[in-house]
Symmetry: C2
Subunit: 432 residues, 2 copies
């Protein structure tokens, strides 16, 4: 393997994973670097945050995915800096030389300069994020059950989701459904069906990247589940007491962030000009200006579709297609073919967003779908792309279970229960 060109792939998300797998027969030596030991099936992460799935159901060790691929090696490490001149990737604790670099580290949360909001409104990118969200969501009902003050109880039972993209819609729909259908019987002092779920969106419709008709359908379905949808609304502050929307104060102890993302910081070391959100303006072949051995793929790449002039969306199918595209270029180059590649072309097969148990909206090959049929399509596609046969069985079973008995299987509060979310709850009840 040592005479072969060394391809370093940074990030084991959809882009990096499919790139690495597609290179399985190429005459290259591959090192996949990730700071986590697992590939995470991000589209189902909200199901972990809302206690339907366990982290292990939607994650698979990257090492195991590549275990039978002899030309690939997996390395647990944090990539910090790219030295494009020396062709080196600097990790937190080491250096890797590369012949070709594929950057696929994705996006992280952005609070638009209000980083202090993060403590009050966690986002959803990693397993740990999802477990923290689950902890807060479940603890809110526990604390409300013990709360004697009406206003405080109301604030504990008010859930605000900021941002109505697919993740925000999924979170808000599922949370409202859980409060109304799954758990009412479990509590004695509170009526969980009175919980408020607010979904705040800055544009004039939910799912703004979807077709307008689908946005309307999605909003109907959300409202049927009891979600209060606030459009054209901007959050101006988040603090201990709740959220400020424009001039309105909403007392809420549970705020979740699904609004902004920005590129992972490593791109700042590439020495090229970036987009405002940090994404990398790539060339037609997904290389960066000035370096035709450095590729940027997935959400991290700002790539304009040549025919339509529109941006390639930051979705899993685009990342997968980019990963495979770059793998084809690299396989050819490894054989000495340095010719110009035809530019990357995104094939839009549609998009789907789920809203609650057995509800979804989407377009597949141009066809608009909503309701149960869309949900079935969504479920099939997600199971198909889920890595690992075992995971697929388990996820199908858990969904079937949740569907039949309206229960969430993973209602665990882990981590520090004593740690107050905002402030300590009041004494339970007085002694007689």
């Amino acid at each position: 393997m040592n005479g072969r060109p060394h391809v370093v792939v940074v990030g084991g998300g959809f882009g990096g994973l499919y790139c690495g797998k597609a290179l399985r027969n190429a005459r290259v030596r591959i090192t996949i670097v990730d700071r986590r030991n697992h590939h995470l099936f991000q589209p189902l992460l909200y199901e972990v945050a809302t206690a339907a799935l366990s982290p292990a159901d939607i994650a698979e060790p990257i090492r195991r995915i590549f275990s039978r691929q002899a030309n690939a090696e997996v390395l647990l490490g944090e990539a910090r800096r790219v030295d494009t001149e020396k062709q080196q990737l600097h990790l937190a604790d080491g250096v890797l030389d590369y012949d070709y670099l594929v950057l696929a580290t994705g996006m992280t949360h952005s609070y638009f300069g209000n980083e202090n909001w993060q403590a009050h409104a966690p986002g959803l990118k990693s397993v740990d994020d999802a477990l923290e969200m689950r902890r807060r969501f479940l603890l809110a009902f526990e604390q409300a059950e013990r709360e004697t003050d009406d206003d405080t109880r109301r604030a504990k039972l008010t859930f605000v989701v900021i941002g109505a993209g697919p993740t925000g819609v999924e979170l808000a729909g599922t949370m409202s459904e859980i409060a109304r259908r799954a758990i009412p019987r479990d509590f004695r002092s509170i009526d969980t069906t009175t919980a408020r779920v607010l979904l705040i969106e800055g544009t004039d419709r939910v799912l703004p990247t979807f077709d307008a008709k689908l946005s309307a359908k999605a909003q109907q379905q959300l409202e049927a589940l009891g979600v209060e949808v606030r459009l054209n609304s901007f959050v101006t502050d988040i603090d201990d007491a709740g959220v400020t929307i424009g001039n309105e104060q909403v007392a809420a102890e549970n705020v979740f962030w699904a609004a902004g993302v920005r590129a992972t910081p490593i791109v700042e070391t590439l020495g090229i000009e970036l987009e405002k959100d940090g994404r990398v303006p790539v060339r037609g072949d997904l290389t960066i200006p000035g370096h035709n051995n450095v590729f940027v793929i997935g959400d991290l790449a700002h790539c304009r579709a040549p025919e339509t002039g529109t941006d390639v969306p930051g979705v899993a199918p685009a990342a997968i297609q980019m990963g495979k595209y770059v793998a084809r270029i690299l396989a050819r180059r490894a054989l000495g073919d340095d010719g110009q590649a035809t530019p990357f072309r995104y094939r839009d097969k549609g998009m789907l967003a789920t809203i609650g148990r057995a509800r979804a909206v989407g377009s597949v090959f141009g066809l608009h779908l909503s309701g149960t049929i869309a949900w079935l399509g969504w479920a099939l596609i997600h199971i198909f792309f889920l890595i690992g046969f075992r995971n697929r069985i388990i996820v199908v079973l858990r969904w079937a279970w949740a569907y039949l008995v309206f229960q969430r299987g993973a209602r665990l509060i882990t981590g520090d229960v004593d740690q107050p979310i905002r402030k300590q709850s009041k004494p339970v009840r007085e002694a007689k």
Copy 2:
């Protein structure tokens, strides 16, 4: 419900849970208090620590278990102090009045006065303990894969389990089996089959509470799996470098504690004399001296079987039997029958310990079993007692999967990956 006597059950383990459930038709009002929101099926916790099961597979919200029991209420809170005079239970943030108190808070780790060992050798009691153990176990191989120094690599691949009771035996057997069978193919630089697993025991045999013949069988099976069993051995120090066993230094970066337990601290507030390990010497009816409305059950109770003069063992079946026994007394008292109860009698139906995939030893109704048949018995019993039908299906499936393909389904490193276990690993490899 308000005229009924108030039974406060502290702890949602086996004892508390079965006591609460057995009171379902009693004319009492029950409050179950636990600092965690879930009942944990402790006997399978080692399967979480070794990445076969997810936490949610062996846990169920206590609230859900009692959701249809109208006379029961569940409260998330930490019990701190009992005031037997005023009949009050003090929580971290509130006070509960009781007519009857059932203490079932179980045991916690004990490092025999060497509490500084805890940071180096975590124990296994809670979900968070199991996830921390899993993190260390999986991270050890990841770090070894990147380690260039032979001695350090060897220390990273040396696993020491202290204490050869059921938990220690299960951990050591499973860890050795994983290193030898499940993961060798996933690594490129290291040979995981060379990993050492040491099991340290102070007495002259493994599973000292089992029959001596079974101990011998268990030791054979452990050694067949590659575990080095060290009997009559005492750990005199644990630090960054490893473990000191008598005068011998073993360089090991992964040490796990399965040796000592002591009573949870709340019993110290009962105002009575306790055993050396903090357990409560209960009377024949499981009440404490001086207070016939305060019961102590489960591992926390030091209870001598009247006929044999031997101690009731600290195992799940004993806790379950105690819980049901106390429930019968309380149900009678609620009806005005304050007569003397016949003393608690433990019915020993046998005990089983598993050693690896499809190996176990045990005695069931006096019959000695070992090997696959014992494992099957063990699996059946554990599935039978697992709370929640969904959990049972999932656990059966996961076991079937692990059995067929020799893979662990939950190989996730969560929590802070950057956090060094002991010290930072060296630079991966040098630049060329």
